[in-house]
Symmetry: C2
Subunit: 305 residues, 2 copies
């Protein structure tokens, strides 16, 4: 008898999780929504989230919005149909409208850096200013005084947050930034390249340029190469994110490392916590830090006004 049972188990038996879910009311499935897998910002986040989930016996079902806000709705809907236990929405653009259904159904959600929604929805916050403070300390110490900033598109809140943080930090350091020092790009390589071309035409030319993300910093590097301007001898360059490419280009980029793994871990912990309906987790803010590589150096001596 027992032998038969054992044999059955050893041979074939795998519990049917649909049946169990139906009975128990939990699927042990989390949803993860991101903007775009092809954006090298996300893989590490996905990796960290999925590894953590696997370690807890939780599966991850995963969709992306491709930056289209409307697709977020169908992403969330699909997750709810699958009866995921909780959803991590790691896109930078979010419409509160779409959040109502999961909230109503009691499906915990967590957002990434949605400051305007932080009071009403669980959120993992990253304090960009910390990274910019370290970057400015570094550049000022090297002797830079003329800065340029490659911003992102006006409608992208994460880009605007970064710009605001940079401005605040600059002011605190007594650095004045006229509007002609800030050029917007499209967050991709190409946008960084054209923004850099504009910045290089300014007079006085900035001796240090910060880009809102590494992709644009890579573009900026290309623009400098093309113009015969050496990095870091003629101009220093700092990115943001610390993507794998940041250390693959020449020179390897000094950049501000976005704590993606910590972000994923925190999102996961918040969701787990919400499900266990214990006490709320203590508030926690993540901080990006400067990673110094080879794209920054002291500015070449030259005449100043």
């Amino acid at each position: 008898m027992a032998r038969v049972r054992k044999a059955i188990e050893e041979m074939n038996y795998v519990p049917n999780s649909s049946a169990r879910s139906l009975r128990v009311g939990r699927t042990r499935l989390f949803g993860l929504i991101i903007s775009d897998v092809n954006n090298p910002f996300f893989p590490e986040l996905i990796d960290a989230f999925e590894s953590l989930a696997a370690a807890h016996g939780i599966g991850v079902i995963f969709t992306h919005t491709n930056y289209e806000l409307e697709r977020l709705d169908s992403c969330i809907r699909r997750m709810i149909e699958r009866r995921v236990d909780a959803i991590a929405i790691m896109t930078s653009e979010i419409d509160e409208r779409f959040l109502r259904q999961p909230m109503k159904l009691g499906v915990p959600i967590v957002l990434m850096n949605q400051r305007q929604l932080a009071a009403r929805y669980p959120n993992v916050l990253v304090e960009y200013a910390t990274g910019y403070r370290e970057a400015m300390d570094h550049l000022l110490f090297l002797g830079h005084r003329d800065f340029g900033f490659i911003a992102g598109p006006p409608q992208l809140s994460s880009a605007q947050d970064r710009k605001a943080a940079f401005k605040t930090v600059s002011q605190a350091h007594g650095v004045h930034l006229g509007p002609e020092r800030i050029v917007a790009g499209d967050m991709h390589v190409e946008g960084g390249r054209s923004a850099m071309r504009e910045l290089l035409a300014r007079s006085p030319r900035p001796t240090a340029v910060l880009a809102t993300n590494d992709l644009m910093a890579v573009g900026a590097l290309q623009a400098a190469h093309e113009a015969g301007i050496r990095v870091p001898e003629d101009i220093s360059l700092i990115g943001f994110d610390d993507l794998p490419i940041a250390s693959m280009v020449s020179p390897p980029l000094t950049t501000i490392r976005h704590p993606r793994r910590e972000l994923a871990a925190r999102a996961f912990a918040l969701l787990q916590n919400a499900l266990q309906e214990g006490n709320a987790l203590p508030e926690l803010i993540l901080h990006p830090h400067l990673v110094i590589r080879e794209s920054t150096a002291s500015p070449a001596r030259r005449r100043r006004r």
Copy 2:
């Protein structure tokens, strides 16, 4: 009555897919197993697979082995517990042992480029030789005669397949490659860099180097930079895969584009087909093609033996 029902539907109702799956015996869930999300080879594949699935109302549950063969077993097991309808195993290393359970349970699987298993398991095959043929035509036309090849580790079958394809094509072109022309790397940037350093020390120094993947080609580029050797003026360089970084480095890499989206689409089609138990899909082999950018040029004139 009808009004009540309608109201209910409009307000809250979302069908419970666990219940439906239990009843119907299908989950409309596919499993996707890859080696490593952080490897930039995979995001585009994931993207294509997931988009296709979403368009068919199928969800994707996704795990990675982190290159550890043993983890493939638990990946497959988890998918089977979730009762996925089918599994795409897109890792380059596979142990047939782990494939028995899904086969026994009648869960269709599809593999990526497992030539040794192609007779017994559905497989998406990529004919590497096509890409190498185009690459060699290009290099020979430019006037190159001394080649170097950065291979991958001996135990990685995909790397060995590429090397074998390259050798076959070289021979067909009457190019002889002594063992000292082939150096192995680790498939990452660092391995490409050190392999290139060795190749640069050879005499006669190769005028053109092909790397088994783009990551190593990027490393090779760095090694050339560090040695003060210009690409493409002093040495031509060709990668493989056409990762996003290939066009971000300077100079942008000439490389062989791996048809990742087509691979994903084909894998998806094979799985769908297996589920519909119609006729088998006609055999199809995918071909990578050369993408010419700026890392290749005619070799500088110099004395030859």
